[in-house]
Amino acid sequence: MGDRFEYVDVRVDGDDGPIVSGFSARIAAVGLTAVTGPSGAGKTTLVRLLNRLDDPDSGGVLLDGEDVRSYDVLALRRRVQYVGQVPVTFPGTVAANLGCADPSVLLQRVGLPASMAGREADRLSVGEAQRMCLARALALEPEVLVLDEPTSALDTTSKEGVEALVVSLAADGLTVVMVTHDPRQASHLADHVLEVPGK
């Protein structure tokens, strides 16, 4: 299998000059790709282009060989699920957050007990909430999972749990793209490493 994404000479401008410029790289379709690089290199900026939360100021991003802007943006975002650093829970129960009446299979997949379905989402611990966010992303049956430092807000135990979960999702055939500033996480978990150069 080839590449899922390709960055072609991407430039994204910030308030004072470009955040990234002249960036070209590929992301493999299979396995877990860690996006690493120094703080301020533009890692978050780059992965936000994958589901079009932002667009580059010049250059382009290809998904399966086609410019991401050629797809319907709402359909693209369901295919390419993005989970941020800090888990975002919506008002209501876990089941309501997951948008289904019987979320036990989803909960099991992310290592949460089925009994959690009726809990208010804002009462979850940060680790539980991050797993719920992963379940919410998986509910849409995406082809790609983009994770922006998914463990940075977690303590060591929940961090290891989420890491194992992410590895298993990649092994199940999802394309997983994970931003990390932690070289250990990149070398231990990732099948591929995409190094974003600093300036």
Binding site: D15, T44, T45, V73, P91, A137
Partner: protein, 261 residues
């Protein structure tokens, strides 16, 4: 019956300035440092109201066709004021202008189409200005509230967008809250009218010698008109603000999302 219609001369206005002098004296004694502002406010109110008095006299005196032009000027001033207060919304003045113009046209249109008030400069201009001045505050509240809420809840908004929600769906909780913020003051005012305050149009008519019940019927029309005008302006301002804060591709505009790198 005694009434004040035609009874107030410029001499009386000058005497009423004595009350401002009392305020200025208090400011001086208590060192509030407001005497200068009071002087400016007194002079400005005199000049502005006298000027609009001559304009109204001209329009009412056989130049009714100028009513639309007068209301248009008022709308522009109101739009600049509301837009200036909500200036962090991109294109705020245009958003406010469209909201205020459509609210004024809609409410005056309903009032005249139903035959509640005659199509006449003497009714259209004052009623239009009341709709405008109230809707101006509502539109500014909706625009600033929505913009600041979406900026503060950027993560939640983008989490919703990431799940495939449209910009309208993703902003809905804060859109709803902004509309409530914009409309609650007038709803509350309408609830307590007559209990807490005797409103301006009614007191004015009573002072000018009208029967209280006649004045009250007019005031009711005015209140409902203002309520409707505020609701209309809020809805239009909210809708247009959402469109200005998201791109056509359901992305938050960059001014709202300074992201960590």
């Amino acid at each position: 019956m005694t009434d004040l219609s035609g009874a107030i001369g410029y001499k009386d206005v000058a005497l009423a300035v004595a009350l401002v002098a009392v305020g200025a004296a208090v400011s001086r004694v208590r060192r509030l440092d407001l005497e200068g502002d009071m002087l400016i406010a007194t002079v400005r109110s005199f000049v502005q109201l006298l000027a609009i008095g001559y304009v109204l006299a001209f329009v009412f005196d056989g130049h009714g066709g100028m009513s639309a032009a007068l209301l248009a000027v008022m709308t522009v001033v109101a739009a600049l004021t509301a837009g200036g207060r909500a200036k962090r919304v991109p294109g705020a003045r245009v958003v406010a202008g469209i909201a205020l113009a459509s609210a004024t046209l809609a409410t005056l249109g309903v009032l005249t189409a139903l035959g509640i008030v005659p199509v006449d400069a003497r009714t259209i201009v004052p009623l239009g200005s009341m709709v405008l001045s109230n809707a101006m505050a509502s539109a500014a509240l909706v625009m600033t509230g929505l913009r600041d809420d979406l900026a503060a809840h950027r993560r939640e908004v983008e989490a919703r967008l990431s799940l495939g929600h449209t910009s309208h769906q993703a902003s809905l909780p804060w859109h709803r809250r902004a509309l409530r913020t914009g409309m609650l003051p007038i709803v509350d005012n309408t609830k307590v009218v007559g209990l807490v305050a005797l409103p301006g149009a009614m007191t004015g008519m009573i002072l000018a010698g009208a029967e209280p019940l006649e004045a009250i019927r007019l005031q009711l029309v005015v209140m409902y008109m203002i309520l409707g005008g505020n609701a209309f302006a809020s809805v239009v301002a909210g809708e247009l603000t959402v469109r200005r804060l998201f791109t056509a591709d359901h992305q938050l505009v960059r001014s709202l999302r300074r992201t960590p790198r």
